[in-house]
């Protein structure tokens, strides 16, 4: 089965051709046009700007996905498009394009959830053996807009069991980076700053809270952490000279990253144990964070040695269309198609059973 995937939920315009045979996936092409540089000057995605850029890029991106894959659009078996959650004005571009293509070419159309795409991103670019997943699985999906723990009892069987009470993890990175004058996007900015710290010894003994770490559920809270960074940084700026401040900022970046990672990993492991998970899945933009990957890896090895951890390839951590096409395959298998006229974008689409 040849699937064309389309993704425009936020600030990446993406198209991909995925070949699926007996539940194994080959990403034949995967084209992503990122707008991150354009949005950097605003410190975040501006919907109107994003939509305009999506319109300019969507057709050339689909064309290059087909070209790179050496596939003619007539030979595509079905079209999968991300219909939410995301920014309404961005989602619309992908959804309307997919609907039009499906109508004109008489191709079956599949609506895919963005979070669902991140769950299956762990299969993209991997060999057949690495694409094996055993259920139940616990998935941590973390990005600029989402921080969720999802229980997967089977393919397409999802239950949301934990989420953020306030800010998403990626949003916390963005806002903390802004407070610390580290630029946008905040994830890589803070991670790079943390890496600059030579030795892990702390000169300034910076401590940040771990919100909800011991709460009896699988939820997160990052808003208070952001406030704590604000006050810590303000105090440091008042009391330190320029040279000291440079070092203190690195220590603060390390501590902030540790705090976020600790909360994410601890809740994921707790959920995995409570649900006797055989697989732990990590996905979403924040899954590119090295500290998060390493920490989750060692927690799984230590606490659930028989479980398998699946993480996406680095190039599949951000938004892409290969993951949308792969998720689309599972819907196509169950003949879960939608009539083009009935498909609408849903910015608040929650992934439920």
């Amino acid at each position: 089965m040849i699937i064309l995937g389309i993704e425009t939920s936020c600030d990446e315009t993406a198209a991909s051709i995925v070949r699926a045979d007996n539940g194994c996936f080959q990403v034949v092409s995967n084209v992503v046009a990122s707008q991150v540089k354009t949005h950097a000057k605003y410190g975040g995605v501006v919907p109107e700007v994003a939509a305009r850029l999506h319109i300019q890029k969507i057709l050339p991106i689909i064309e290059s996905a087909l070209e790179n894959a050496k596939v003619k659009i007539e030979n595509v078996d079905c079209i999968a498009v991300c219909a939410g959650p995301g920014l309404m004005s961005s989602l619309l571009i992908g959804v309307e394009t997919a609907k039009t293509l499906a109508m004109v070419l008489h191709k079956p159309l599949i609506r895919t959830n963005h979070i669902e795409g991140h769950l299956y991103s762990v299969f993209a670019g991997k060999n057949d053996a690495e694409q094996k997943i055993r259920f139940p699985a616990i998935a941590l999906v973390v990005s600029g807009g989402h921080s969720q723990i999802i229980l997967m009892k089977d393919f397409l069987k999802y239950k949301l069991i934990g989420e953020t009470r306030d800010d998403a993890a990626g949003e916390a990175f963005d806002k903390a980076a802004k407070i610390m004058d580290l630029g946008y996007p905040g994830g890589p900015a803070i991670s790079n700053e943390a890496d600059k710290l030579d030795g892990r010894t702390s000169e300034f003994n910076i401590k940040l809270p771990r919100p909800m770490l011991n709460s009896d559920n699988f939820n997160f809270s990052f808003s208070g952490l952001k406030t704590a960074v604000l006050y810590k940084w303000r105090d440091l700026k008042l009391s330190l000279n320029k040279k000291q401040l440079e070092r203190a900022r690195r220590e603060l970046a390390v501590e902030f990253q540790n705090a976020v990672v600790e909360c994410l990993v601890s809740k994921t492991m707790r959920a995995a144990q409570a649900n006797k998970a055989k697989t732990i899945v990590l996905g979403g933009g924040v899954s590119a964070n090295k500290a998060l990957r390493e920490s989750l890896e060692s927690a799984v090895a230590e606490e659930l040695p028989r479980a398998k951890l699946l993480t996406p390839l680095m190039e599949m951590t951000g938004d892409n269309a290969a993951m949308i096409a792969i998720a689309g395959y599972f819907h196509a298998k169950g003949k879960d198609f939608i009539v083009p006229e009935e498909l609408t974008a849903d910015p608040n689409w929650e992934l439920v059973e």
Binding site: T164, A168, S223
Partner: protein, 144 residues
Amino acid sequence: MKIITKSEKGTIMQGKKFAARLKGGEVILLVGDLGAGKTTFVKGVAVGFDLRKNITSPTFVIMKIYKISKHLKIKNLIHIDTYRGLDINDLENIGALEYFGRDDCVCFVEWGAGLEDYLRKGKIRMKKIKFNDLDENTREIIIT
């Protein structure tokens, strides 16, 4: 009106009280720095409307709409965030302006100071709430 709260819980309580005074059709502009308590206040408003849903930051999706079932007149709580420097045109593009001034809606706009002129010209009932962080837990909330 000026209120001092000493904790997150206190800010939520004030949000709850504030909700009881709303009649429908108001646009409330929330002004204050990162971490000053804007979203926390809206959490309290949701409690006031007996909305059993968790209010999360709208920064990423710009606008969230929550259905209210336990109020005679107000049926929707609209939570908007213009943190990224969105202006009135952006809000029109995402359809947010359609909710302004509607009797069955109350709209809370974080970082909304820039909308004052627009609302005044449109004669839309408006309230402004300023959040000042006095120290890590203490907040001064000024409602005008």
